[in-house]
């Protein structure tokens, strides 16, 4: 097991992601952040706070549960459904940024694209992730990446956040 990102690395990556999202979206009042539970939702809250400091106004932030849209539901025991919180501005005609901790196969994001269709029709959907570890199984890529982490398929990437594990770190485990 090795530490890939320390607490300071994560903080720096999140600040950089915040700047990049604002640079890529000229109309910052159009942006809505949606975190994918559970860790993506916490990251979305942090990025929203940083972006609000930079932009000088609140950035709407919510979370989008994708459990019911997963394609592996029938292969596993039932999963608990998480909360979906859509900011009161809604998502219609807004620039929605999905936030997740690790981008791996791309299947979670495919499910999120389905799930957002039930809520409304955003003007655009973009993706920001803390870590991109490769090994995509679908034609999906991230618009904003905190850290590209080359891994082998046997390794496991673990993200720990202060909100849940009392520590910020990204670990790589060899199985």
């Amino acid at each position: 097991m090795s530490v890939a990102l320390s607490s300071a690395d994560i903080a720096r990556a999140l600040v950089r992601l915040s700047h990049e999202i604002l640079e890529a979206n000229a109309l910052s009042t159009q942006i809505t952040l949606l975190g994918i539970p559970t860790r993506g939702a916490h990251l979305a809250q942090r990025i929203s706070r940083t972006m609000a400091e930079i932009a000088g106004h609140e950035i709407p932030v919510g979370m989008l549960d994708i459990t019911m849209h997963r394609d592996d539901l029938r292969m596993r025991p039932p999963r608990a459904i998480m909360a979906t919180v859509i900011p009161h501005e809604g998502v219609n005609d807004r620039d929605v940024i999905f936030i997740d901790d690790v981008l791996f196969s791309g299947r979670t994001i495919r499910a999120a694209l389905d799930a957002i269709g039930e809520v409304g029709r955003p003007r655009s959907v973009q993706l920001a992730v803390l870590v991109d570890r490769g090994h995509r199984e679908l034609p999906i890529r991230a618009d904003f990446v905190g850290k590209n982490l080359p891994t082998s398929i046997d390794q496991a990437v673990k993200v720990h956040l202060v909100e849940i594990e009392d520590v910020d770190e990204v670990l790589i485990e060899n199985n």
Binding site: D65, M68, H69, L73, R74, M75, R76, P77, P78, R79, A80, I81, M82, A83, T84, D114, G117, E118, V119, G120
Partner: protein, 315 residues
């Protein structure tokens, strides 16, 4: 969990996870697109050997909102009215590849028989069997109570519920007593002695014959339907007397606690166990119970069917 036959089979954690799932699924019913792809490709059979409006359409709506295929099968107009046995019906359903059977049957224990047999491999969901249990109704009642009165607590600890009326014939009462007790609420049964089942003293409830005394001390008044179709004996002198002693009249409405709510599983006998103006009053959550029923039944179908592995879901 593969079947839902009785509340007695549920742990508190399982019951709460169904209620929590229902809370999240309720927003689907509020959304613009009232459909999720979760149970696409699953076949659910509604096998109703007894009349039902609410429960059948509620399960049907729940299954359809999760994209399952629904086959309705009622005994009227099917081979069951020609005397086909439960076994042969089940073998037919198995041959058609049913992943779940929602069964309403006049005989207590019919769903358990179906679940324990080798006749079919799908999940069995009890939608009311004889005078035994009606677990999905109890779950939707608990969901409704929690939404109104739990003040954010996950369970129903400390709440007091009166279940009033025809307890003898009521599967709703049996399931509710078990679930309310499991979730920490206390239950008082109010009924004429003739409509109490044998062995009521072994239930985890207190019993009262005085509705006026009981009504002021509870947070929920749950009225039961007087099941005239099951009554082949004289259980009370006449409707007027029943209504005077055990009906929820507008006079009794005034004795209720300020935030207390009125529930009824339906269908109501207006003017017998509940006065029409009480059923339509602001304290009544009877119509909301029906709406909540769809969310709770979606949660039940999700918990039983979504996580099935390919192996055990076999058809």
């Amino acid at each position: 969990m593969r079947h839902l036959l009785s509340i007695a089979d549920l742990s508190k954690a399982q019951a709460l996870s169904i209620l929590d799932t229902a809370t999240e699924l309720a927003r689907v019913s509020d959304g613009a697109v009232k459909k999720l792809p979760t149970l696409r490709g699953k076949t659910i059979v509604n096998l109703f050997a007894e009349d039902s409006t609410r429960t059948r359409i509620s399960f049907e709506a729940a299954a359809k909102r999760l994209s399952a295929d629904v086959i309705n099968f009622s005994s009227k107009g099917s081979s069951a009215s020609k005397g086909e046995s439960l076994k042969d019906t089940a073998l037919t359903l198995q041959a058609m590849g049913a992943d779940a059977v929602v069964i309403r049957h006049g005989a207590s224990g019919a769903p358990a028989r179906l679940a324990s047999s080798e006749w079919m491999h799908g999940s069995v969901i009890n939608a009311g069997d004889g005078t035994h249990e009606h677990p999905s109704q109890a779950l939707l009642d608990a969901f409704t109570i929690r939404k109104h009165l739990s003040k954010g607590a996950p369970d129903l600890a400390g709440l007091r519920v009166a279940i009033v009326g025809d307890v003898l014939h009521s599967r709703v009462a049996r399931s509710n007593v078990l679930l309310l007790n499991l979730l920490g609420a206390s239950v008082v049964i109010v009924a004429p002695p003739t409509l109490l089942p044998v062995g009521i003293e072994s239930w985890p409830v207190s019993v009262s014959y005085d509705f006026d005394a009981a009504i002021g001390a509870v947070d929920v008044v749950m009225m039961l339907r007087v099941q005239q179709e099951r009554m082949n004996d004289l259980f009370y002198p006449n409707a007027r007397e029943y209504s005077r002693y055990f009906g929820l009249t507008s006079q009794r409405l005034k004795l209720m606690n300020a935030p207390a709510i009125i529930m009824h599983p339906g269908p109501m006998n207006r003017g017998l166990e509940i006065a029409a103006e009480v059923a339509d009053s602001a304290r009544s959550v009877i119509v909301e119970q029906v709406a909540n029923g769809v969310s709770v039944r979606m949660a039940i179908l999700y918990v039983l069917l979504a996580g099935q592995s390919l192996k055990e879901g076999g058809s």
